[in-house]
């Protein structure tokens, strides 16, 4: 029997959602994990959040559009973000063509080329959705490699790293070099690629280093993180403890109490309808909703090399 009435759930849902997308200098950034089964509206939610994230500017005493950094994927929906402009950052050695639903190249995109993560920081458009595509051949920054080796007590480090770790480098440098009062939200879809459960070899060390060095101080650094995946069990358990907000979509599994979940009824998310979500923060939870978006209309990123190969 639910002891908490619906109106209380609705109130809490609205409050926690508002806190997730509106950042104040005192409260800092938010780290959120969201879980949804395939096709239950995860991408549509991320698109809506990207368009609505805001921060409070103390000088103007107004809510401003917050800069969003979106990890681009081969098939993505960042072009559906409403209310914010978007630009794309790609590595200077990569040639990517963006195709719309019908296979026609999209030409009116603002594209910036980068060599290192610092180039992205220089070209970052404030108040925009900045989509970045990881380099195809990724050599990790030497300074960073040295730092990781020291912190993790490892001797060897692969010469060519998995491109997904470019995100680590980007977060590391943004945390160091961004302006003190600037708020940035990272949106990472399919986060299990980055924070894989039970990682092996060097990946174990990288994830451990990232948790210790970057994730720990995200809130204070005014960086927000929204990590989306299909199930909480796909995410590294060490990362799970750093999540301040947990969002569940219809039929998502709710983690046990040891992962700091206050929801005792583990089938709660089963009762949600499409377009609704359950949101949890610091022992409180509630429900809210968002408008559904037709995500069939996706942008396809085609790497020219690949294109030649499959022609």
């Amino acid at each position: 029997m639910p002891r908490q009435g619906n109106s209380e759930l609705i109130k809490q849902g609205a409050r926690i959602t508002k806190e997730l997308i509106t950042h104040f200098p005192k409260s800092g950034g938010e780290v959120a994990g969201l879980w949804a089964e395939q096709g239950s509206g995860k991408t549509a939610f991320l698109v809506t959040v990207a368009g609505r994230t805001a921060y409070f500017n103390e000088k103007t005493r107004r809510l401003m559009k917050e800069t969003v950094i979106w990890r681009g994927r081969p098939k993505d929906n960042w072009h559906l973000v409403e209310g914010k402009k978007f630009c794309v950052h790609i590595h200077f050695l990569d040639e990517i063509e963006f195709l719309d639903k019908n296979g026609t190249p999209i030409t009116d995109l603002q594209i910036f080329k980068y060599d290192t993560a610092e180039d992205i920081i220089k070209n970052l458009k404030r108040g925009w959705v900045n989509v970045y595509y990881e380099p195809q051949n990724y050599l990790m920054d030497e300074e960073l490699v040295e730092e990781i080796r020291k912190k993790q007590f490892i001797d060897t480090f692969p010469e060519v790293a998995d491109p997904i770790f470019f995100t680590y480098e980007l977060v590391y440098y943004i945390e160091r070099y961004k302006q003190q009062d600037e708020f940035i939200t990272f949106i990472i879809d399919e986060a299990d690629e980055l924070f894989e459960a039970n990682p092996e070899g060097i990946k174990y060390h990288l994830q451990s280093w990232f948790r210790k060095t970057c994730l720990r101080d995200l809130r204070k650094s005014k960086l927000s993180f929204i990590l989306a995946s299909h199930d909480y069990r796909e995410i590294d358990y060490r990362i799970m403890f750093k999540l301040m907000n947990k969002i569940y979509f219809p039929s998502a599994a709710i983690p046990p109490a040891r992962y700091k979940s206050a929801i005792r009824k583990k089938d709660f998310a089963m009762r949600l309808k499409m377009g609704q979500y359950l949101i949890e923060k610091k022992g409180n939870f509630g429900i809210a909703e968002y408008d559904e978006i037709n995500t069939d209309n996706s942008v396809r990123a085609v790497w020219i090399k690949q294109k030649m190969k499959y022609r």
Binding site: E8, L63, A288
Partner: protein, 121 residues
């Protein structure tokens, strides 16, 4: 006049009991109706109008309390009395607009709609 939060709170209290099946829990639900509705009607200046119905509901509540522990079948009569109280009380509450039974869910799309552009500083 009852304020919106009071109406919501009343709705929430009722919602908490919407799925209960225990005899004592049903009695408690009836107590909520019989304590909140007269108070809210008095505030509205309409207590006199409903005094006959309310005194009938009070009598039914008293008889339900007496027979709720009667395992010879009296508890069944009690439950019927309580159901009658629920029906009549809800009728008054809805007619006089004393309760908010359902609150519309808040949409993420309604939040932060008007934002300033930092590039234009």
């Amino acid at each position: 006049m009852a304020s919106q939060p009071v109406k919501e709170m009343f709705g929430q209290l009722i919602a908490n009991y919407s799925l209960v099946s225990g005899n004592y829990e049903l009695l408690r639900e009836a107590e909520i109706y019989l304590s909140m509705i007269p108070a809210m009607l008095e505030e509205k200046g309409k207590l006199q109008e409903y005094s006959t119905i309310l005194s009938d509901l009070e009598k039914r509540y008293d008889s339900a309390v007496k027979t709720i522990d009667d395992f010879q079948g009296g508890w069944k009569v009690s439950r019927m009395q309580i159901r009658h109280i629920r029906k009549e009380a809800l009728k008054i509450a809805l007619k006089e607009n004393l309760v908010v039974l359902r609150q519309d869910m808040v949409s993420l799309n309604q939040m932060n709609r008007i934002l300033d552009d930092p590039e234009e500083d």
